[in-house]
C-alpha cells in the first residue's frame, strides 16, 4: 500500500476517526464521570464529521443539534443532579473487567474480520450529493407512517418519563401515581 496514493481527504478522515476513537476511549476508561461526559462531546462531534464524509450533510446537522445540544446536556444533568457521582471512587470498575474486555475484543475481532474480508461493492456516487431534499420526500411518502408513529412514541415517552421521575417515597406526601 503506497502512502502517496492517499489524498488530503483521506488523511482528514484518518485524523477525524482517530479523534473519535480516542475521545470515546477516554469516555469509557475515565474514572471521573464528568470528564467522561465532556470527552463524549468530542466523540459526538467526530461522528458528525464522519457523517459529513459520508455526504450525509443533513444528518451531520441533526447529530450536532440532538446529540451535542440535547442528549449530552441531559447526561450532564443526570451527572450533576445525582449526589457524589463525580468522585473517582464512585465510578470504579466492577470485578468483571477481564470478562468484559474478552467479550469486547472478541466482538471487535469478528466485526473487523467481516469488514475487511467481504468484497463489498462500491457503486456510490463519487462526488458530494446533498441529501436533504430526498430525505424530505422520503419522509412524506414511503416513511410517512413511521414518521407519525414516531411522534406518538415521543408523546408516550414524555408522559412515561414524567411519571417515573415524579416517584417519591411512599412515606412522603406524594406517591407520584
Amino acid at each position: 500500500m503506497n502512502l502517496s496514493e492517499y489524498s488530503v481527504a483521506d488523511w482528514a478522515f484518518v485524523a477525524v476517526a482517530l479523534f473519535t476513537v480516542l475521545t470515546a476511549a477516554y469516555a469509557v476508561f475515565a474514572q471521573n464521570i464528568v470528564r467522561a461526559v465532556f470527552s463524549l462531546l468530542g466523540t459526538f462531534l467526530g461522528v458528525a464529521l464522519i457523517y459529513g464524509f459520508l455526504s450525509a450533510d443533513f444528518l451531520a446537522a441533526i447529530q450536532l443539534l440532538v446529540y451535542v445540544g440535547g442528549i449530552l446536556v441531559l447526561i450532564l444533568f443526570a451527572v450533576m443532579l445525582t449526589s457524589n457521582i463525580s468522585e473517582p471512587s464512585a465510578s470504579n470498575r466492577s470485578g468483571g473487567l477481564v470478562t468484559s474486555l474478552l467479550f469486547s475484543a472478541a466482538l471487535l475481532f469478528i466485526l473487523v474480520t467481516i469488514a475487511l474480508g467481504v468484497p463489498w461493492q462500491n457503486n456510490g456516487p463519487t462526488e458530494f450529493v446533498s441529501s436533504t431534499e430526498r430525505i424530505g420526500e422520503f419522509l412524506l411518502r414511503e416513511g410517512l407512517l413511521a414518521f407519525e408513529v414516531l411522534s406518538v412514541v415521543l408523546v408516550g415517552i414524555v408522559i412515561g418519563a414524567v411519571v417515573i421521575a415524579r416517584w417519591q417515597d411512599p412515606a412522603g406526601k406524594e406517591t407520584g401515581s
Partner: protein, 103 residues
C-alpha cells in the same frame, strides 16, 4: 481518487461499538452505562449511513439513522428519569446495589 471506502467506516464503527460494549459491561454507574449505550448507537448509525452511501446510493439509511437519533433522545430522557428515581429510592446510582428484585 480517494482511497477511503466502505471498510474504513466499518472498522471505525466496529471499534466504537466494542468500546461502548466494554463500557456497558464493565461500569457500575447508571450514567456511565448510558454513555456506553450512546456510543453503540452512534456506531450503528455510522454503519447505516456508510452502507447507504456505498451500497444503494439511496437515502434509506440516512432516514433510518434520523429515526434512531430521535429514539436515542427519547431513550436518554427515560434513562434520566430512571436515574432520578434510583437516586431518590436507593440514594445511589450504582446498578449493582439496586437488587431488590433478586430472590
Amino acid at each position: 481518487m480517494t482511497q477511503v471506502t466502505l471498510p474504513h467506516f466499518l472498522v471505525l464503527s466496529a471499534v466504537l461499538f466494542a468500546l461502548g460494549l466494554l463500557c456497558v459491561l464493565s461500569r457500575r454507574q447508571a450514567v456511565a452505562i448510558l454513555i456506553g449505550i450512546e456510543l453503540m448507537l452512534n456506531a450503528a448509525g455510522i454503519n447505516f449511513v456508510a452502507f447507504s452511501r456505498y451500497g444503494t446510493a439511496r437515502v434509506d439509511g440516512v432516514v433510518f439513522v434520523l429515526f434512531m437519533i430521535a429514539l436515542a433522545a427519547a431513550e436518554a430522557v427515560v434513562a434520566l428519569a430512571l436515574i432520578f428515581a434510583l437516586q431518590r429510592r436507593w440514594k445511589t446510582v450504582d446498578v449493582t446495589r439496586v437488587n431488590s428484585l433478586k430472590g
